[in-house]
């Protein structure tokens, strides 16, 4: 048996511009276009080619048992690559050789039907993901256990909380046993506890000698799961190899190419809750990307709420450049959650990291909004968007101090009782 699991050679995929925005023409337009084609041809007008390459001459090999992360900004071609590997869409050029059954998880709960019960959806979703009925029956108890939904098995999933929904959906997918598992950004939903459980499950999968291909905006998860990574940029491979090295390069590139520590986003009317601008400020409200350990770091977010979303919450991670999560914060951490049922309109959110919290070094901030009510709402998940550096100028060891924290601890000395 060859040790190659996936071989991709000169893979390219061309899309027509606007194909995703206005996917179908009307019959009338097509008729008119066909009828007027000879006239246009006589006039010497040629059809303009509004095309772009979502993937452009991509080649790589992945060995059996490797977990490989795919990183890159929006529109880099990550999802297109996964769709081709899962046979959902066909490439325009090039070829892929797959040695093993491919199971893909591009979205949690694909094919779940709200009217069907949890039990029924396990079977339906399992079949959609390519499991046989016998296989599902065999793993049924394990799936239910993993999802922690025993009591609600015979309730239609439309009555589920979004947490339960996601848990059940992931549980089914996690019990797929393909030789090659392709996963796209599915961990952005669900609570942290469960995300950890899922990541653990995927780690198991990789350790069982199966191949995992994993796309995420959360660099921490990639660092945790994948030894190797592929960095895609505008449809091309920028870099491929050791995850730590690639993440460092990737985060560096973000630094030079975007407005860190001040980034604005264009309007997206489809999003019910959208991040408009994110900045890092000091106490004088001026934008900064270099801080001293002795000053607070203020993360300032401007969000636009187009529609009130129940149980909306924000989540952020402060990560080192190698992806290590140093700190996590959730708007639900302290009750009440001020983002819950936020009224429509513009809002400013400020999160302050107190002075002497983090150690000197470089950090990125990963940001995500979500709702317990889950997939019914289109809520922005901006991903890794901000970056800053911290210098420790005042303490004795300064920047050479190792560790994750910069809190200065007092060494309190008092005479012992024994002296008496």
């Amino acid at each position: 048996m060859s040790d190659i699991a996936i071989r991709v050679e000169h893979l390219s995929k061309q899309y027509r511009l606007g194909q995703q925005a206005a996917p179908y023409e009307t019959f009338r337009e097509a008729l008119i276009a066909t009828a007027s084609a000879p006239i246009r041809w006589l006039r010497g007008e040629r059809q303009e080619k509004n095309t772009f390459w979502a993937l452009d001459d991509v080649s790589f090999d992945i060995k059996h048992g490797e977990a490989v992360g795919i990183i890159g900004r929006n529109g880099a071609g990550k999802s297109t690559l996964l769709k081709i590997l899962s046979s959902i869409t066909a490439p325009t050029r090039g070829r892929v050789e797959l040695f093993g059954r491919v199971g893909s998880l591009l979205e949690v709960g694909t094919g779940f039907h709200p009217e069907l019960t949890g039990r029924e959806n396990i079977f339906l979703n399992g079949a959609i993901l390519g499991m046989s009925r016998a296989e599902i029956t065999r793993k049924f108890d394990e799936i239910v256990d993993f999802a922690e939904v025993e009591q609600f098995l015979d309730t239609p999933v439309k009555f589920y909380s979004s947490g339960m929904y996601v848990r059940l959906a992931f549980a089914v997918a996690a019990h797929l046993e393909p030789e090659i598992l392709v996963v796209d950004e599915v961990l952005a939903v669900g609570d942290i506890q469960f995300q950890k459980k899922c990541l653990g499950k995927m780690d198991d999968v990789a350790h069982q000698g199966r191949t995992v291909l994993f796309v995420s905006h959360n660099l921490g998860s990639i660092a945790q799961l994948c030894l190797q990574s592929i960095w895609l940029h505008h449809g091309k491979i920028m870099s491929i190899g050791n995850t730590q090295e690639i993440l460092t390069k990737y985060v560096d590139s973000l630094d030079s190419s975007s407005g860190y520590p001040d980034i604005s986003f264009s309007e997206d009317p489809k999003k019910e809750v959208q991040l408009r601008r994110a900045r890092l400020l000091n106490t004088n409200e001026s934008v900064k990307d270099k801080y001293q350990c002795d000053e607070p770091i203020i993360i300032d977010l401007e969000i636009l709420v187009r529609k009130t979303v129940p149980a909306l919450y924000g989540y952020l991670e402060v990560c080192r450049l190698d992806g290590t999560k140093v700190m996590v914060s959730d708007s639900c951490d302290i009750t009440p959650n001020h983002m819950d049922n936020l009224k429509t309109g513009d809002h400013t959110i400020q999160i302050t990291i107190p002075p002497r919290t983090l150690a000197a070094g470089q950090y990125s901030i990963y940001l995500n909004f979500s709702s317990i009510a889950g997939q019914k709402f289109n809520v922005d998940s901006p991903g890794t968007i901000l970056r800053f550096s911290l210098d420790d100028m005042t303490s004795q060891r300064g920047n050479s101090r190792a560790g994750f924290f910069s809190a200065l601890l007092e060494w309190k000395v008092t005479p012992s009782q024994k002296n008496e």
Partner: protein
């Protein structure tokens, strides 16, 4: 990996599709459980949260029959070849409704499963196939009422009843042949969604559901009989009620048309398949 376990690793090559693709029915067969699950889902969901549930499968043809019996049977006094008009029209409504439902759901099947198509791989042919399966269950339920009607009017079917499965296959094949074309076109041109109800209505008047073939002028009979559903509907009357006016050559000819349409529908569908996820 443990050397004692020799596993056959499936090997797959993904390449850009060039020209017409072979129809991989073996793959569809491998996914037959999914076919069953989709049909099962459609049936379960259709009548969930309805008060009357599966009774709708009976009520629809029953009320249409009553309506037709009053208007065409009593008011217009259309000939029904000596058979009580209610049975005469109900025996035709059964295959007709099967066909119309199947055609409608097959045509819209890809669109109504667009979320799946853009996120998961499976042979896309499963989708229109399964949508037709769900219609067969309704047919089965409504068929029981027909047996009741026949018992009421003391009509005893002859051995011709054995031809029913063949006629059923012809009805389904016709729906599938047209449905495959329309479902694939529907992905690209959403106009199809509006064409389908119009098409089925038009088609129903071109099929002897409410009337007998005998009222069609002799010289147009040949053209009329090219409609495969004419064969199916008259075939049902013949198989169940023992009376009909149709010629076997016409049925065979329209069957051949259906077969041709079905085969090129399959190829067209297969050709468009690769672009479904991008266009839908």
């Amino acid at each position: 990996m443990n050397p004692s376990t020799i596993t056959v690793v499936p090997h797959k090559i993904i390449k850009p599709p060039v020209g017409w693709q072979a129809i991989n029915l073996r793959e569809v067969w491998r996914f037959r459980e999914l076919l069953y699950f989709f049909a099962w889902r459609d049936i379960k969901v259709r009548y969930r949260q309805t008060v009357l549930g599966a009774a709708w499968a009976i009520l629809q043809p029953l009320f249409t029959m009553i309506l037709f019996s009053v208007i065409f049977g009593s008011f217009a006094k259309l000939p029904s070849e000596g058979i009580p008009y209610p049975v005469f029209t109900y025996a035709a409504l059964l295959p007709w409704q099967l066909f119309a439902t199947a055609l409608n759901s097959a045509s819209n099947s890809l669109i109504s499963n667009q979320n799946l198509i853009s996120k998961v791989y499976f042979p896309r042919l499963i989708v229109p196939f399964s949508s037709i399966l769900a219609g067969l269950v309704d047919f089965g339920i409504a068929f029981i009422v027909l047996l009741g009607l026949m018992a009421y009017y003391r009509l005893i079917p002859t051995l011709a009843v054995l031809a029913l499965p063949l006629l059923l296959i012809l009805a389904v094949a016709t729906a599938l042949a047209v449905g495959l074309w329309l479902s694939a076109l529907n992905v690209r041109y959403r106009d199809i969604r509006y064409v389908v109800p119009f098409l089925t209505q038009f088609w129903m008047y071109a099929t002897p559901v409410a009337y007998s073939v005998s009222i069609v002028p002799e010289k147009w009979r040949w053209l009329y009989s090219l409609n495969p559903m004419t064969g199916v509907v008259e075939g049902f009357r013949w198989a169940l009620l023992g009376r009909a006016s149709l010629d076997l050559p016409y049925i065979l000819f329209s069957t051949a048309i259906v077969f041709i349409l079905l085969v090129n529908g399959l190829f067209y569908f297969k050709r468009m398949e690769a672009t479904f996820a991008d266009l839908i």
